[in-house]
């Protein structure tokens, strides 16, 4: 056995990769299969799962309801469709805002002198490594009725002798958007920077020599060459926004319920793991479809590793 191990390259490789492969199999693949099995089940009265094979949970998610106001057996209830749609649009909006904010900064860092680049990048990393929950808390402090933003607006208003009533910003969809943008902005900056930094400076010179102005150079040289970074960043932002429940829970209150909140409640408060599993599979399929078509269209390379 040992002799064979020493001689066979293939066995050595298997041996080295085995612990990781087993670990990922038990804690990633099996849980996904289990989630699929549970999603066809039903809720037992004590909040456990009865294993059956029914599509009821999926039917409920796409709006087929059996508890109707008019007393009929089935009716259409858009509650869960709305939640899925809200998550999708929020993830889309967050990604767009994040790209618009991350691009100029990444460009700024990539064109800085090499010695300064690390410092600027480091300044992006510090907020990233401040704990996720703590970052949401910081926005709770800013957006509250008595929070810093209202204090500053009130102060400006009093200087201008304008009447001012504090704005209600916390527990609104806007607060959730701001929170999501803040949480995931660094995940866009790093990959865009990586692809911008790789662009050979002589390309800019060539474009200038050929008479292209700054706008044209940007549109024809910089932007196309940085697309792999934008794509990688989009995946790193879009996927977690789709599934996060902390931001919407703390900044949206009961106003903004996303698919993440829906899943979390099925496992903790509502005690319907079967329905929660179905919702989480729908979430997974939605993100996989979006990332699949997106990467097939644009492709992404090593930029995803940069973050």
């Amino acid at each position: 056995m040992l002799k064979r191990l020493r001689e066979s390259k293939s066995m050595q490789g298997t041996f080295l990769a085995l612990p990781t492969t087993l670990w990922m199999f038990v804690l990633l693949i099996i849980p996904l299969i289990l989630t699929l099995i549970v999603s066809f089940g039903k809720r037992s009265p004590d909040g456990n799962v009865i294993y059956t094979f029914s599509f009821d949970n999926y039917a409920r998610l796409i709006g087929i309801s059996h508890t109707c106001a008019d007393g009929s057996a089935t009716c259409f209830d858009p509650l869960y469709i709305n939640i899925l749609w809200r998550s999708l649009t929020l993830a889309f909006n967050t990604t767009v805002v994040v790209i618009l904010m991350a691009y100029p900064l990444s460009y700024f860092i990539a064109r800085a002198k090499p010695a300064q680049r690390n410092i600027y990048l480091f300044m992006v990393l510090i907020p990233l490594w401040t704990n996720f929950v703590i970052r949401v808390y910081a926005w709770m402090m800013l957006l509250r009725k008595e929070g810093a933003i209202n204090i500053i607006i009130g102060w400006v208003a009093s200087l201008l002798h304008l009447p001012f009533t504090p704005l209600e910003m916390l527990y609104t969809p806007g607060a959730v958007l701001v929170g999501m943008v803040y949480e995931f902005l660094p995940f866009m900056i790093l990959p865009i920077y990586t692809s911008l930094e790789k662009i050979d400076g002589s390309l800019y010179e060539a474009a200038a020599d050929l008479g292209a102005n700054a706008v044209r150079t940007f549109l024809r040289v910089t932007l196309p060459l940085s697309m792999p970074g934008v794509v990688a960043g989009t995946i790193l932002v879009f996927v977690p926004v789709m599934g996060t429940f902390v931001v919407s829970d703390l900044l949206g209150g009961k106003q903004v319920i996303l698919v993440g909140n829906l899943i979390q409640r099925q496992f903790l408060d509502a005690r319907d793991p079967a329905f929660g599993s179905a919702a989480s599979l729908i979430l997974m399929v939605m993100t996989l479809i979006v990332t699949y078509f997106y990467t097939r269209k644009f492709g992404f390379g090593e930029e995803i590793v940069a973050a």
Partner: protein, 299 residues
């Protein structure tokens, strides 16, 4: 044409984005010195604080720690101390395991061809493209099912019953750390000049000695930055921990989340500030290792 020339619009936009990134953190730290116990308004830096929750009106009490009152308060809070201990225990144990087996996998994927290679590679990429909550509830289902069966099959009772706790959190953390360790070490192995290994073999070293004397020291910076990345990911993790922790295994992010849903005290700000300082130090070390690494690559 100066390659470092940037339009004033780009500079202005960048300054605004940096402001957006840092303003919340500055406010957060500022409020950790707040004299108000309820932390709703900033009532000046603390030297003495009005204890208006217990006493109507404003009984002014001098703080023994001066402006650092809330930081002193932290050390007296046994929940915070317990959560800190849990967080660090989980992060240290999970980092060690994930670094060792993740590095082994990186070597295998980079250097060897074997049957299950495509499967291993796929399993390492999945966590990047599926939302963490999907992984979290999947693992929760696995543990509750498996523990249920085992407890029933062996008639385990009382403390012997398997339940969610520090062990389940650690095992789950290892699962989401491994892909990151493997990716970082693999990147380091890609830039590795194989002729050094060949030279060692030519000089009569066997594979084992070659690995420990040549390969390992060269990829060590990659292993260290992978380990540090894994460590910070563990400290930062909320979602996976949320679904896999049990009584007595609360970590700091879970504890803070629990607090935020009920009360807000400057203590949370003090805790956050300490946290930021610790992570700042960790990232500094990581940067230092990486800058040393890039210097050796150039040399």
């Amino acid at each position: 044409m100066n390659p470092h020339r940037r339009s004033p619009w780009v500079v202005a936009a960048s300054i605004l984005v940096y402001f957006f990134l840092y303003a919340p953190i500055v406010i957060l730290i500022l409020y950790s010195f707040n004299a108000s116990k309820t932390n709703i308004k900033f009532e000046g830096f603390i030297t003495e604080y009005s204890d208006r929750v217990q006493m109507q009106g404003s009984a002014v009490v001098a703080s023994p720690c001066g402006p650092f009152h809330w930081y002193c308060d932290l050390t007296k809070n046994s929940n915070v101390m317990g959560a800190t201990k849990n967080t660090l225990t989980i992060a240290v144990v999970a980092t060690i395991v994930a670094t060792i087996i993740g590095t082994m996998a990186a070597l295998a994927l980079q250097r060897y061809d074997f049957k299950i290679k495509p499967f291993s590679q796929l399993a390492l990429y999945i966590p990047i493209v599926i939302p963490e909550i999907v992984m979290g509830i999947g693992i929760l289902s696995l543990f509750s099912q498996a523990f249920g069966w085992i407890n029933d099959a062996f008639h385990l009772t009382g403390n012997a019953r398997l339940a969610l706790g520090i062990g389940t959190v650690t095992v789950s953390h290892i699962a989401f750390m491994i892909p990151f360790v493997t990716l970082v070490v693999q990147a380091r192995l890609q830039g590795f000049d194989k002729s050094f290994e060949e030279a060692a073999m030519d000089l009569g070293a066997n594979e084992w000695i070659t690995f420990w004397r040549v390969t390992f020291p060269t990829i060590l910076p990659g292993i260290l930055s992978g380990a540090l990345l894994a460590f910070t990911l563990s400290l930062d993790d909320f979602v996976i921990t949320f679904f896999t922790n049990g009584p007595g295994s609360t970590t700091l992010p879970i504890y803070v989340y629990g607090l935020l849903r009920r009360i807000i005290s400057p203590q949370v700000n003090a805790l956050s500030t300490v946290w930021i300082l610790i992570v700042f130090t960790a990232v500094m070390i990581l940067q230092w290792i990486q800058s040393r690494e890039s210097k050796t690559v150039k040399a």
